[in-house]
């Protein structure tokens, strides 16, 4: 994969407002994000000949709405782990010459459609025992982490508190009221040991990224951001317990991280900001351990004292993440990586930001390292 190092750049990013938009649908949301990304880089939309759609019902309708006939299309299922997959697939499609400019779009109308996670009508394997919802699977992992390593819920709170702090600096974010560790501890229990503030938001919105080969990325309005490295590892064995891994995705995240660092030629100390998929707060701890920012079992102490906050040792999810900015299932975190490297983040800008890493610790683990051109 090293031949793909820096081969592709992100030239445009866009997003809708985040919240509840019952008058729109996926196409309306995605079209707004697309228009925003097209304006961001100044590309002629008819130059876009590659299309990646995620959580959008029908790719052809999307193309019809945007008035484009691409040469290459990829449809991804509406799972949270698809953003990293989509971006890496777009890199390989561009490098292979399938297309010249790829627009990747994600839309979510789950809030207005009152989407619930858990309690499905069609029974899964473990439903008769009352086991349901991705949150419960993460609670199961975190309880195990507490037992094995002595991690505490007050340490877990550091994740939610730091990420909310960033949302308060982001004018686009859904949640903008500061929270404390005590607020986290007193929040409504959902599936203990997890409480309400450990759960991500469900809101409407859409995100778009536009990618092209780096050799032509300088022709657009904004400074390009390089995709310097990436890595991947699935974890399918044991997946009858959905969204669960008995060892916290550690092996998969380690593997994907090693690939990404080697390809990009950077290491932990070079990473100025981390964008860690935060469907639930424990995922951030598992990501830190898997990537090797600390040893396994030590993420609880790593995050203490506001380490993940802007100005801390590893600013993480500087847009407010899924927990407090927007439930864009990884896509918005990749947009934030680009904006940080461009220096567009205002009050939440990481100083001298040169390397940003994205990671999704999920059954399809991916990590992507972005750098300034």
């Amino acid at each position: 994969m090293h031949e793909l190092k820096n081969k592709v750049s992100v030239i445009g990013v866009g997003n809708t407002r985040y919240g509840a938009f019952p008058e729109l649908d996926e196409y309306g949301l995605a079209a707004r994000a697309f228009r925003d990304a097209v304006a961001d880089c100044g590309i002629d939309k008819n130059e876009i000949d590659g299309l990646v759609v995620c959580r959008i019902p029908y790719y052809a309708r999307m193309g019809e709405v945007l008035g484009i006939d691409p040469r290459w299309t990829l449809t991804l299922p509406p799972h949270g782990r698809m953003s990293g997959i989509g971006i890496i697939e777009a890199v390989t499609a561009l490098a292979a010459g399938h297309c010249k400019h790829v627009a990747l779009m994600y839309a979510n109308i789950g809030r207005s459609r009152r989407v619930n996670y858990g309690g499905d009508e069609s029974p899964g394997t473990w439903d008769p025992w009352g086991m349901t919802s991705p949150g419960a699977a993460h609670a199961m992992m975190f309880r195990r982490h507490m037992e094995l390593y002595g991690t505490t819920t007050r340490q877990l709170a550091e994740v939610s508190v730091a990420i909310r702090h960033h949302a308060c600096l982001n004018p686009d974010a859904v949640m903008t009221k500061p929270i404390t560790i005590d607020d986290h501890e007193a929040a409504r229990p959902i599936v203990l040991p997890l409480r309400l503030l450990d759960y991500c938001l469900i809101n409407d919105g859409a995100v778009c990224l536009i990618l092209t080969l780096s050799e032509r990325a300088g022709d657009f309005a904004k400074p390009p951001v390089r995709i310097a490295g990436f890595g991947a590892r699935e974890q399918y064995r044991g997946s009858s317990i959905a969204n669960f891994d008995i060892n916290f995705w550690h092996d998969a995240v380690s593997d994907a991280g090693r690939q990404a660092y080697a390809m990009a030629g950077v290491s932990h100390g070079d990473v100025d900001a981390l964008m860690a998929y935060d469907n639930f707060s424990p995922t951030v701890l598992f990501s830190l351990e898997g990537l090797g920012f600390c040893k396994q079992g030590e993420a609880g102490s790593f995050v203490e004292g506001g380490a993940l906050k802007l100005g801390g040792r590893l600013p993480t999810n500087t847009d407010g993440g899924h927990l407090s900015n927007s439930y864009m299932q990884g896509w918005a975190l990749n947009v934030e990586a680009v904006r940080q490297l461009r220096g567009e983040c205002g009050a939440r800008q990481v100083a001298d930001c040169e390397v940003v890493q994205y990671v999704q610790a999920t059954p399809c683990t991916r990590s992507i390292i972005y750098t300034r051109a």
Partner: protein, 134 residues
């Protein structure tokens, strides 16, 4: 039993032996006749060697507690009266992981605690294997 309001398993040719055994008070898992790999949930081929030649074998019912959680939200109405209720993760002595419920005093739950299977009838057709701290 017709008033049972919690989710029931969808019985199919692959999983029916598990529920047939449970109704008779036995915990059984699928074992590959070719390579002896023991697995659950059941699989159409052995995940280890891909053989279709598999059988169901009763197991000891002994295991260790790998984790547990406490639900404070009822995702199905049938669980409302049980709140808060626990769900546990058990590693059977024979290898596979099982999701179930701890019966008795869950406050004594600890990682690695020994557990034994017990059976709770749900309907005429379905009996749920659950676990008690040893």
């Amino acid at each position: 039993m017709s008033s049972y309001a919690k989710p029931l398993p969808k019985l199919d040719p692959l999983n029916r032996p598990f529920w047939d055994h449970a109704r008779e008070g036995r915990l059984a898992i699928q074992v590959c006749s070719a390579c002896k790999d023991a697995h659950f949930p059941p699989s159409p081929v052995c995940p280890n060697c891909l053989s279709e030649d598999q059988e169901w074998q009763p197991v000891s019912g002994r295991g260790t507690l790998e984790s547990w959680v406490e639900f404070h939200r009822a995702y199905w109405d049938g669980f409302k009266d049980d709140l808060p209720y626990n769900v546990c993760l058990v590693r059977l002595a024979e290898g596979p992981l099982l999701v179930s419920n701890l019966v008795g005093d869950a406050a004594k739950a600890r990682l690695g605690a020994a557990v034994n299977v017990v059976f709770e009838q749900a309907t005429d057709e379905v009996t749920l294997p659950k676990f008690a701290l040893a």
